[in-house]
Symmetry: C2
Subunit: 493 residues, 2 copies
């Protein structure tokens, strides 16, 4: 490592960008706004994918794959949908290049113009519902529970690695149901799946809530979301689940024969999480030394580093290390023995700290003599000496990994609780935003006008109306008009 | 099922198209040349992916992700590469739509024109090697062993589901090495990984070989391939592995400091298989009743169908079925109990035959009485009664699934051997092509001119020069010029 990371307290944004690059998670590509996800970063995403995919299948969903391209006219079929996405669509207009006249480069062949332009999917509701029209005839074809893992493109002007990129990876679930109640149940169920994933695997506490009309998905009747708190006091939307009503069914004429012999429009949902979760994971737990990964998503859970002079010592350490590795692997713990002679132990310690490996085992000659190892926790940066004769090392480490997982979650939860404050006046609200940030729980009169005014004045948006929010009479923080419950405001990513 | 499939003997091509659609594997999308992979088809692709991914990781590769878009100018940097791909590239020229003047549709916003057009990746060598330039400085950074699972687009004019589509899913490995020998070793290793996957998992025997210069990947110095034989006597290229020499390193100026202190260009490989493998799998084994899946890739390996009158009988069958399912699942066998009352047993039998489920268990009242089940093999369409008291049903079925896997492979191997013929004269060659098809092993003078002439006259191409081909003096089948070994010709997909 050439030098340390920038400090979070000095420049949180720079700290994040540098951490993403130095920990080999991702980097900017030659194409503006598109990222390269590097092998180490991708291996974390793969662990997220595997767990989410398992949860989707356990709740009855199957994967499928729909085309990357969407005919331009499809987008217009659902009025608010096109309104939401037309301004940021990559458009394919030609299908061939040809040599330039001087033969030195290639140019677009004007003769290879498409009859109808194609949009690179920003989301797939339109192409999927046009397909569902053929798949759904009768109540027997319902529910249809489909998910897709795919890349999507939204031409963002200001991009940041993982948080906002022109191309990103995600999953999008698209389901069709016979009744409104069933579609609503699915919408809420998938929000709960996301929340469970965030909390149990990412160690990231989230607020479950509903979006205000302004913040709804373009084409949805209701958007449920999970919202997380980052260390700089800004909120991050980590996943959304949309109740689409019959909007897309009507736009694409998807009807089904009911059991009773009628013909009705289908009810729909869609839900997604993306590589943005990587940004949330990084920003929620990491520190000035680098990444802090919850053990359940760490590609390497334990690293073993030998401290030795000469090959004879290395051989003896190696033997012991392999014995420990065997025991850990039997318990399904992923472990890496870094015996490279190109780098010194101190360099390696810093490297694995930067990469967020939850546990480090160091073994030197004195450890061999005493039959001990030095165990260091990444999250707390604490060390202990463990006597191998006195514990079953695999069980000890498995338990410790669980404890780390819980501890990281609790730390994030305590932080979020500290960072959630009630405001009862506009002055309080403004002061909190400037001095503390975080979630601000405040009364709102329920109108889009007030919401927009607040956003304009404070850059804070309504993150959600928490689903467990108690009814409470009060006055809107800005307009003073009556309100019957608090909502959560924050500045957000 | 409304009616049976077309017969292979009458119209192989129609049989294939209908089978793909009726077995719920894939269908054409509203976007010309792009397919929708349906849930059942995708679940087979997922099994392929999982196994290949495991094999890539076991051979030291990591996954990463590179951008969908490639700046147009990048394509021109490697001369033969642009030559090979420019004619079939989807081109993004704009990044925004706007409302039409009448407000009824959206049009491309002429003000949102990109400075440089972007190509939707047809393959990723250029964008990856431009990235490798930053990743590789020293011999310590090598080898770099990276794979990507992605979608790619090649604007094909004539498309067929799975076999040739404008967008397809694939994996592309891109590796960088310090020496020519190591890159060559990697190229051959990955061809062998593909061959092992095809033979052990797809039950598909393949010829391992090298392409002639004409058939090489655009930008490669050598292309290794695996070639399979379909039931209609046409060959199918199932995977390729390219030795890129230093071509892309030179095009993107990727040099590394050697151990000895020099500065040298890096050596490269790339290798890929795609959803085309689905086409190969379908065409190699299936019959006039539908799909035949090798057990190792079957999403459902065993289906249990109750044959009953009334609910009391169903309850008793159900109990037994769940007992069997429990035992099978303990052995990792995937099993589905289809107790729907909306369809009759005969309909279900035909449905699971169409979908290629390797084993069907039927249980009726007499089976309950006798403590037997009826077991039907999809591949041979044979049935037997199994006495549950006399065998351990899970072991019996696990063994039978292995036997089916081997049997499907052997059948395909025998067929390929029958369909591989030597030709020694041009007349023999032509007659074989017209009457029998298959692989024709014949002498060729090694020139591109002759190869092209043969293709023009016969529509047969050189599929490969098998790696185990013995040296043998002979005369070229067309030109009569001297040859020192046979090559494999065929008409191909």
């Amino acid at each position: 490592m050439s030098k340390g990371l920038p400090k979070r307290s000095e420049d949180y944004s720079l700290w994040y960008n540098e951490l993403v690059k130095r920990a080999d998670l991702a980097e900017n590509s030659p194409v503006r706004g598109c990222m390269v996800i590097k092998p180490y970063g991708y291996s974390i995403w793969e662990k997220m994918q595997a767990q989410l995919d398992k949860m989707f299948k356990e709740t009855g969903h199957s994967n499928a794959y729909f085309p990357l391209f969407i005919p331009k006219s499809y987008l217009s079929k659902e009025a608010s949908h096109v309104e939401g996405f037309a301004k940021e669509c990559a458009v394919v207009t030609h299908y061939r290049l040809k040599n330039s006249e001087d033969g030195k480069s290639v140019v677009v062949d004007p003769e290879a113009k498409l009859e109808e332009e194609l949009i690179v999917r920003p989301t797939s509701e339109t192409v999927i519902w046009s397909t569902y029209k053929n798949w759904i005839q009768s109540y027997r074809d319902l529910p249809l529970l489909v998910n897709q893992w795919a890349n999507v493109v939204r031409w963002e002007m200001r991009t940041r690695l993982f948080l906002r990129t022109a191309e990103f990876l995600w999953q999008e679930g698209h389901t069709a149901h016979a009744t409104k109640a069933e579609a609503m149940e699915e919408t809420v169920k998938m929000m709960q799946v996301y929340a469970e994933f965030a909390e149990k695997y990412m160690a990231l506490p989230v607020v479950r809530g509903v979006k205000s009309e302004n913040e709804r998905f373009a084409g949805a009747e209701d958007t449920y979301c999970i919202e997380a708190m980052m260390q700089d006091g800004k909120a991050l939307q980590a996943g959304t689940s949309h109740f689409l009503g019959q909007n897309f069914a009507k736009a694409f004429d998807v009807k089904f024969a009911t059991k009773e012999g009628g013909l009705e429009y289908v009810w729909g949902t869609s839900w997604g999480v993306s590589t943005r979760l990587m940004g949330a994971l990084i920003m929620a737990h990491s520190d000035d030394n680098g990444l802090v990964l919850p053990p359940k998503l760490a590609p390497i859970q334990v690293v073993i580093i030998p401290i030795h002079k000469g090959d004879v010592e290395l051989d003896r350490i190696s033997e012991k290390a392999h014995e420990i590795m065997g025991k850990l692997r039997e318990k399904g713990i992923s472990v890496h023995f870094d015996h490279r002679d190109t780098h010194k132990p101190g360099w390696k310690f810093a490297e694995y700290e930067l990469k967020g490996v939850p546990l480090r085992i160091a073994m030197g000659p004195r450890d061999l003599e005493n039959n001990t190892v030095e165990l260091a926790r990444r999250d707390t940066l604490t060390k202990e000496s463990v006597a191998l004769g006195e514990v079953d090392i695999a069980t000890y480490i498995a338990d410790l990994l669980d404890e780390i997982q819980t501890s990281i979650y609790n730390k994030a939860l305590n932080f979020r609780e500290e960072m959630t404050t009630e405001a009862n006046t506009w002055e309080e609200f403004q002061e909190l935003l400037e001095t503390k940030g975080g979630f601000i729980s405040a009364h709102w009169d329920g109108t889009s006008e007030t919401e927009e005014k607040i956003k304009e004045l404070s850059k804070a948006t309504i993150r959600c109306i928490p689903i467990d929010q108690k009814a409470e009479d009060g006055k809107c923080i800005l307009s003073g008009n009556p309100s019957n419950g608090r909502v959560l405001f924050a500045r957000a990513y």
